[in-house]
């Protein structure tokens, strides 16, 4: 296993940072590393907002409810973005509404922004920095749009905090390889269920060890707890207002 693969295997989210901002050069390297990720048909359908204004950070923290959204080395927000494509199309007097309003372009923007973000995560960790994704910005997407002045044809996907780690974080085991990886055809037989059961025990052990036995959640119960809650139901209306998902 080479050094890069080792680094990927050692990934853990960091939620507590030293009180030290990233310098401009570091921010630039991170963004440029993000930009080198693959992009669907070269459309580059994303933008990145770096949030340094303390008031905006505070407001985003309130949306996320996570302290580290305010206290970090740098806060990036990843935006699925077809604004520039609309400007170009308008100038050329060409309509791209059929394409853009389709579910396909919603996928393209979401994927492009995600690939860029993961490149940034890898770059940051290679520089000794820690990262955490902030999906909880979608708790109130409308306010994020307002705070960051996002135009139509864009939507805020998630944030990422980057900074000098003030904790080590812990690595949580993933679902078994055999459960996630299928050869040729997706199989949901007896083994598939056994794999979940085995994984449940592994995750319960993880919590037991870390909490001196006070906590022993299974992954399955976390899944049902989380997914049975009706959350972020406004996301649909907001991405539609921004121009996406018109089909």
């Amino acid at each position: 296993m080479n050094e890069v693969v080792k680094q990927l295997m050692e990934h853990r989210s960091i939620r507590k940072f030293e009180d030290k901002s990233l310098d401009e050069d570091t921010v630039k390297i991170l963004v440029e590393a993000a930009q080198q990720a693959s992009t669907s048909s070269f459309v580059q359908a994303y933008s990145i907002i770096g949030v340094t204004d303390p008031e905006i950070k505070q407001a985003l923290r309130a949306i996320s409810t996570q302290d580290y959204v305010e206290h970090n080395g740098h806060l990036f927000v990843f935006i699925a973005d077809f604004k520039r494509h609309h400007i170009i199309a308008e100038r050329a007097e060409v309509s791209i509404d059929d394409y853009f309003g389709a579910t396909e372009s919603f996928i393209v923007g979401t994927v492009d922004a995600s690939l860029a973000a993961q490149n940034m995560a890898v770059a940051a960790e290679s520089m000794g920095l820690g990262i955490c994704y902030i999906g909880s910005l979608r708790n109130n997407m409308a306010e994020v749009i307002e705070l960051l002045g996002l135009p139509d044809y864009t939507y805020p996907l998630f944030g990422m905090v980057v900074g000098y780690p003030a904790q080590t974080g812990s690595r949580k085991a993933r679902l078994p390889f055999e459960h996630v990886y299928h050869e040729n055809r997706y199989e949901t037989g007896a083994e598939y269920l056994q794999q979940i059961a085995a994984y449940d025990e592994e995750i319960a052990d993880y919590y037991r060890e870390r909490t001196d036995g006070r906590r022993s959640d299974k992954w399955s119960s976390q899944v049902t707890d989380m997914l049975s809650r009706k959350t972020r139901t406004d996301v649909d209306g907001i991405v539609k207002t921004q121009g996406f998902l018109q089909q």
Copy 2:
């Protein structure tokens, strides 16, 4: 710039591979590196299908129209996947339909699969392998679902071919840093348009150099050409049939 960042900066898609399959250990390392990527609230809402059956590869190549979908070291297909969560919820007699049918969970599955895929891309390149994303599997998503036996609550996002490079590939410049990265607020002023114009010239030069002047497309005209075509309009209906986007 450290070695990892250098590697990210040097990324290029590879579309021609030696006739040599990845061995099982390599496939396993790639999938496990993918699995270590961040995942929204730890839901791990994706699966990966490795396609080795020559008939299925041929059929997927026909969908994609790209020769390298058939000829590569290994073909992975990334699936946004809430099947396991539905099985778990059913067993626990809990309904997750409100969550699952919402646009939010469509985003979560799409993002989870994308972050995993980009980790795989980085791992592969660190091992001297080349990669190319295959978005064109979405040319006929229904057939991909059929070929890979994908159950409801899943959808095929994209493929990735990995293999021993038989070409060097070329690195295409991305949009200017200043165009993609905004501080605190998204700005679309005069500079925003100038940045596109400058980038258009850069891309035109890139093609001129590579084709002895026969080609000199601007990025803007590629964008309008591509996005004015009405393509993959069936994606919406298919993801809905699979159970997504019920709002």
